[in-house]
Amino acid sequence: MRWGILLLALLAGCVDLRTVRDFADESARFPAYTDLTVRFRDTFRREEPYLWGEALDTARVHDRNRQAACRDLLEIHRTLVAYLRSLSALAGEGAFDVSEGLGEAASGIRAHAGYGVEARHAAACASLARVAARRTATARQVRAVRDLVREADPSLQQVLEGMAAAVACIRRANENERDTVAGLLSVEIPYADAAQERLLAALAKAHLQARLEEYRAADAMGGKAERGIRKIQEGHRMLAEGSGRLSRTEAKAWLAQCTQDLKALRSGLRGLGRNSE
């Protein structure tokens, strides 16, 4: 009975870090920013067939600057993912695993029950060790997670703010590219009305429709990327400012909802012409 009361008292202090881990994992998996940046990087390859003369020369110069910008923008995302994976690992079950050592301890006691150490004493002793270890570990783990998110939050917010700004640039560029391509085709198609150009005109119209659909999907991806970035910002800010309340049901529910929203956004990205995993 005394053991039972002690075990309950120790377990009561435990905090579930799963919500933190799920949030960090889902945030790290969110792909829209990378997909958009890769698409932005490849702008010149897509628009080159529609350009000529001075416009083509100018586009080539812009492409060099764009390539340099995209290298850094992608690298920044890789760093963000590395941080989120570290946070997930720190909040993970594997960060502190006492099961193996204590399992051996328990079997060491039980194996000699016949020598006077009663089985119930052995079991209680092993359980106590396990719970005490987990309690100590969880407390340290919660503290480590809390310290990490608090220390990293200003930089993370800055990175995410910059990523949102980059997405805004990419969306505007996507809109401009769409109008460039559609503009050229809409100038050329009306003149392809001779009998021998009928097939060419039909193909051009189909091509225009396909391209417009592609730009629409890219813009939708941009919208989801912006919402995803805001969700990650909100979730991490809550962790940094309110991680002391992690054990509270509302905080957990709130973060879990954030994770669900990110999952829903990621799921909505399927079928939008993702160009990388």
């Binding site: 586009a59 502190f96 480590a144 930089s155 990175v159 949102a164 700004a165 980059a166 503009g183």
Partner: protein, 133 residues
Amino acid sequence: MAEGNGTPLLEFAGCLMRGAESLHARLAGDIAAGRIDRPTARRLFQDELALRQRAEALCVEAACGVRPGLLEAREDLLRAADEASARIRQLQDVSRIVALVSDLLVLAAAVGSGKVDLLAPALLELGRDARGS
């Protein structure tokens, strides 16, 4: 978009794009009405393209302008990721200490049983975990 990260450039790009749209609307009207031939339409479209390329340059410049602040914050995040790895190692150290404590519990149980032959395996386990840490 936050201040100081390309908003004015994007706004200016938006102005140029609207200008290009106006040019295109007039061009499309002239083409539909049959007022201009193909070479003229292409030449006029070049003017529209020039505006669009300037808008594109501003978008790229705005994206480039985002980088400096990000690269600085990136260094801090990298440090935070390293710090997390160090903290995981610390937690694992605690895990090893807990294993030692549990070995001591086993040893105490063995001593409590009063049986000498229980002491050897308990001591061996303690020694193994002590070497591991």
